[in-house]
Amino acid sequence: MIIMKVDSIKLRDVWFRYRGLSNWVIREVNLDIYRDRIIVIRGPNGSGKTTLMKIISLLYRPSRGFIYVDDVDYWNINGRDRYNIKREIVYVHEKPILLRDNVMNNIIYVLKIRNQLSERSVEEVRDLLKRFMLENLENRRAQELSAGQAQLISIVRALVLHPSFLLLDEPVSNLDRERRKSLIEVLREYRENYKTGLIISLHEDTLLKDLEPDEVYRVKDGSVLIDTI
């Protein structure tokens, strides 16, 4: 198994529009994103935040422009190299996508498919569940969870993979104050311990102060503006 870490993602003159549609959702975006940083992407609903997040996480190929991952032109390399890079950039959807299985199996599934399942990783899962006050839900069917619980489970599932970059799309939209606090603490720890680059999209400013991001970008009509913190 090849384990390589990714240190930077650079977007150069990136434009994006959905197939069959004429309007540009993302326009002329240039961004340099480095690991070991916390970046917040702000903007109202419909501004293009999620599309931008998916472009950064290499799920969407830009209609125009380039994406360099560690100075490698990602969309113009072979499939195997692309796959190895992609594994290091994990995106968590705003609307949690969970399997028709119990909570523990949902989390373990991603570890299994990446050959990362071990006693230690299971311990880590249990520890995270405890910190989010979800330890009693291990055997609960994912479909029986509340929106907030499902959101946290999908975040735990991504955290245990220890990717170089973790992109969280509106991660706190369904969380109560206490769990928001726990999430911020955990994210900070993972950034500290595993040097995980965090890219978080928010449509409200409430978390901004608590997160203490290194950089804040504002998306407006598909264009990215740099905010002063």
């Binding site: 996480s57 799920l59 994990v90 995106y91 959807h93 399997l99 028709r100 299985d101 498919i113 990446r114």
Partner: protein, 219 residues
């Protein structure tokens, strides 16, 4: 009723077993190719025309299909040398063709929806192509089972193909639907009604047992 049941008991068992065999084999046969076609369609874009054609084939009149297959399998037809006309094999082939559009169109919809949801998720966690396909089928399982139940019900309940290429030969190609049609034409309404109840019973038992299996195995 006891008299009727006693009189027809062995024949009833024979007809029911043959119905299950013919329809079950036709469903398995149709499923074996439909699942591949459905997956290929579900992963492609701009296939609206193809999917519309397949969907329009769902309602094909069974007598029309039966007639076409009759010409195909008859002695002077292109496949006449195979001597398949009026055999259970011809019925299996005919019914599998009949249920193919319903299997493809329903399975296609299920797979398409699952791919839209889980395809991107699989990509986001770094799954390989094979792992993605496995995930899609794992999450589509209940929908695929429902499609198979629908197809089996259509196969066991159809008359046109079974009558035209099977010929309703007693002890050889007679199945529940052809036996009911014959019974009615002869004015034997009680035995036809009994066969009808067996047919409905099979459909209900199939549906319920598959639901139970789905629940037990949480699929």
């Amino acid at each position: 009723m006891n008299k009727i049941f006693g009189e027809y008991y062995y024949e009833l068992i024979d007809i029911t077993t043959r119905s299950l065999y013919v329809s079950g084999a036709a469903t398995i046969l149709a499923f074996s190719w439909s699942i591949f076609v459905a997956y290929l369609l579900a992963t492609r874009e701009r296939i609206e025309i193809i999917s519309s054609i397949i969907e329009s084939m769902v309602g094909i009149p069974t007598v029309v299909l039966g007639l076409l297959l009759y010409f195909l399998f008859s002695r002077s037809g292109p496949l006449g040398m195979l001597n398949l006309l009026y055999t259970p094999t011809a019925m299996i082939i005919g019914e599998s063709i009949l249920i193919t559009p319903i299997l493809i169109s329903t399975t296609f919809r299920v797979l398409r929806n699952t791919i839209q949801t889980y395809g991107e998720f699989a990509l986001s966690i770094g799954a390989t192509k094979i792992q993605t396909i496995k995930l899609v089928f794992r999450e589509s399982y209940p929908g695929i089972i429902a499609a198979v139940i629908m197809a089996f019900s259509r196969a066991i309940g159809e008359l046109g193909v079974a009558l035209m290429v099977g010929g309703n030969i007693k002890g050889y190609t007679r199945v529940l639907t052809t036996a009911i049609a014959l019974g009615v034409s002869k004015g034997e309404f009680e035995s036809s009604l009994l066969l009808g109840l067996v047919l409905i019973g099979i459909m209900i038992i199939t549906s319920v047992s598959l639901k139970i299996i789905s629940r037990v195995y949480r699929i």
